[in-house]
Amino acid sequence: MDFTLSKKHEMARTLFREFAEKEVKPLAQEVDETEEFPRATVEKMAKAGFMGIPIPKEYGGQGCDILTYAMCVEELSKVCGTTGVIVSAHTSLCCDPILTFGTEEQKQKYLPDLASGKRLGAFGLTEPGAGTDAQGQQTKAVLDGDEWVINGSKIFITNGKEAEVYVIFAVTGMVEKKPGRFMKEISAFIVEKGTPGFTFGTKEKKMGIRGSSTYELIFTDCRIPKENLLGKQGQGFKIAMHTLDGGRIGIAAQALGIGEGALERTIEYTKERKQFGKSIAAQQNTQFQLADMATKAQAAQLLVYKAARTKDQYTVDHKTAYGVEAAMAKLYAAEMAMEVTTKAVQLHGGYGYTREYDVERMMRDAKITEIYEGTSEVQRMVISANLLK
């Protein structure tokens, strides 16, 4: 068993780190403060190929693997959680389901623009009454001639107003699972910005990742072509779960990056900050805290990379299951991020509580990783269900 990264992954990390330090870090505080979507950064990332890392070259992507993509989200998130999630939601939640379940025509039509970053992608599953319980969907799609007519709304949609291509889930009927027991039949659709009947509701004012564009999507008699059905009718729940399994690797990488970033800042700070005539890094309490933070960050990295590698294996054989690995990586990395950023603020003392210091933002950014793309509780459900099956 070899834990060393290959030459190409090392080079990719160097690239992502250099880009993050030079292009993303200087803007992170401003993006948080103004809650403005970092459009110029996304354009730069598009130019550098970051918006289509695991998409095959035949569809205009970079033809790399999930590990490379996870390392990209990790390095971006070390300096800016907002930028990390923009890449993650776009890649895992929009490009991936189209690549995995789309027809050849859909892939040819949408992936080149998505993978090149010309268009940004988003994913709409969550509704006011359907969070963890995805079966609680109220949005409906009805086939009318050659068009699907969608009515309903989606909330908390990352890349909401900035995206141009959306993977949307809606109820398309009822199916009898057991005699007398009916369940909603959910299907997935590709909806483009600008389609009549598709509008945006309110922008969420969030605790963290404040530069990401989180919006409500509203569908009022929104008519889309019949061929925009993604996968088969009724396959929506499967597509959503498959997509979220992959998305969790992206969010785990985001959480990992936030934790690692906070650790780096804290190491720098504790060496400089002097109390009682010596640096606080010379105090044993600080040393022990840093040791715990680093150990947990390292453990999280191993889980995230293992999940990414397992999904890479799935890409090759279309058999290997990676859902449990992804759930473990996200659960652990998210809780690590919350714990490490909280300790980072504590070690920064009063300064850490101010917006002058990055760790304040990082602690707020970390919290969402325990909630979106499956709460930590959902991850525990996924992991334990696999143990007890």
């Binding site: 190409k8 080079m11 990719a12 250099e18 190929g49 970051f50 970079q62 790399c64 490379t68």
Partner: protein, 260 residues
């Protein structure tokens, strides 16, 4: 169009500089980067490739690990990489280096050769112009803008407080300044391709029309007496005074620094 770009792997000065006992750099012990002026030269070549279509070959002389800098160039968009490495080439000064690179380039077809102005480890700015002398082609140094016009290049050459516009028939050699452009990033897909790309490795035997007396430490007229870390110059001071006051001011400063 065929463009050859000479690049050099140099110590990353952020990581500290180490020297061998003979005063030459201990390259094996240092973190390395692509020399910034060379990177700007490569970017200029890649922009010409984007605009006019070109085949860009990068060439470097160095230790086997200098292969890394060629892969980085390929990950940015260069088409081919050539590593010139041989024990007999070690310890080369600018003369021996330019002889070596010219000897290697004689194997290639080219319309344009682009080098960086100077490397941040030696700071001589000699290798580019020397290569052009050996190959008997024109050189335009300190380029801050490059355009192609038929079979010629039009270059803005930086010159103190102004620039000169020069036109030269190709083939010719241009030395580039880091200020020429903002080099692009590697792409993730480019990195994957670069790691699979075959790097051509040449040794002494592949050099054309070069005498052994011009190669390596023995072929280097420059002997390093002492080497040290670069001490950064300050930004300087600008004062506006009339002539008499200015003379007094300068004399005062020179006395202060014990120059006179």
């Amino acid at each position: 169009m065929k463009i050859v770009v000479c690049i050099k792997q140099v110590p990353d000065t952020k990581g500290g500089v180490k020297f061998n006992p003979d005063g030459t750099l201990d390259r094996a012990a240092m973190m390395t980067i692509m020399n910034p002026d060379d990177k700007a030269g490569l970017e200029a070549a890649l922009r010409l490739k984007d605009q006019y279509g070109a085949e860009v070959t990068v060439i470097t002389m160095g230790l086997p690990k200098a292969e890394d800098v060629l892969r980085e160039a390929i990950a940015m968009g260069a088409d081919k990489g050539i590593l010139v490495t041989d024990r007999v080439l070690g310890g080369a000064d600018t003369w021996a280096t330019s002889q070596t690179l010219a000897g290697a380039i004689r194997n290639l077809e080219y319309d344009l050769i682009i080098t960086g102005r100077q490397a941040i480890d030696g700071d001589t700015a000699q290798v580019g112009p020397q290569i052009s002398e050996h190959l008997n082609i024109p050189v335009i140094s300190y380029a801050q803008k490059i355009e192609i016009d038929g079979d010629s290049v039009i270059v803005e050459r930086q010159y103190d407080d102004r620039y000169h516009v020069l036109k030269a028939k190709m083939p010719c050699l241009i030395t580039a300044l880091a200020e020429l452009n903002e080099p692009r990033y590697m792409t993730p897909g480019g990195i994957f391709d670069a790691c699979e790309a075959e790097i051509t490795v040449w040794g002494r035997a592949n050099l054309v029309d070069v005498d052994d007396s011009n190669l390596g430490l023995k072929g280097s007229p420059t002997q390093i007496a002492k080497a040290s870390d670069k001490v950064r110059k300050g930004a300087g001071e600008k004062v506006t005074l009339d002539t008499a006051e200015a003379v007094d001011y300068i004399v005062g400063k020179m006395k202060e620094k014990h120059v006179i």
